[in-house]
């Protein structure tokens, strides 16, 4: 899984059937061992079944089996939000940058 920040919601009026009705979030993976430095390039579009909103940090899991057992096998996305971060603790001196 990775930690990312929700930077927005994504709408598409024309989309494949597999995405119909699904809430899609645009997520920026955090660098610096979970967000201590500037975000890097590369965005994830993940399916959200938990109700995450912009500005929140979320845990995104990847894989077809993850997708199957969370939002259902018929959904055409393999990145799924599985948690909304309350708190993040990084060990001082553990090599986190």
């Amino acid at each position: 899984m990775l930690i990312g920040e929700v930077i927005g919601r994504l709408w598409a009026s024309r989309q494949a059937e597999g995405l119909a009705g699904r809430k899609l979030l645009l997520i920026r993976p955090l660098a610096g061992a979970g967000g201590t430095t500037a975000p890097t390039s590369g965005l994830v579009v993940a399916v959200d079944g938990l109700g995450a909103g912009p500005g929140e940090r979320v845990i995104v899991a990847h894989g077809s089996r993850v997708r199957d057992i969370t939002v259902g096998a018929g959904v055409a996305d393999k990145d799924v939000v599985v948690g909304i971060v309350d708190d993040l603790h990084l060990e001082p001196g553990s090599g986190a940058r």
């Binding site: 990847h62 894989g63 089996r65 909304i84 309350d86 990084l90 060990e91 553990s94």
Partner: protein, 114 residues
């Protein structure tokens, strides 16, 4: 599986119900096979009681779901072992690429090499 260091822990109240009893650690991989995004961390479930600063072996992908003998858990990374000791070949450790696709950003400590 990959080798990494535990750099923190993350808490989430709102999460998939199958993750309710899971401890979630933030791990910085020492080397990573074709990471999908330019991140330097991953989140892994931990059932072996690893702590901050520990070097750990992390299993990625589908087998990570089998770490607790239960397949229907929505995770893609699991801590499988806490490292006590590693013996590495010093010359091999200096090679820029251990294998195609592997990105290294790390020089192993001297106590690990021979």
């Amino acid at each position: 599986m990959i080798l990494g260091r535990v750099v923190g822990e993350v808490w989430a109240t709102r999460k998939d119900t199958r993750l309710e009893r899971s401890k979630l650690l933030v791990v910085r991989p020492h080397g990573w096979y074709e990471p999908r995004f330019a991140t330097d961390h991953l989140v892994a479930v931990d059932d072996v009681h690893a702590g901050g600063g520990d070097d750990v072996v992390v299993c990625l992908g589908q087998p990570a779901r089998w770490s607790r003998g239960e397949e229907n858990v929505p995770v893609d990374a699991a801590v499988m072992a806490v490292v006590d000791r590693i013996d590495m070949d010093a010359q091999a450790a200096q090679a820029s690429h251990a294998a195609p696709g592997i990105r290294r950003r790390w020089t192993p400590p001297s106590r690990w090499t021979r």
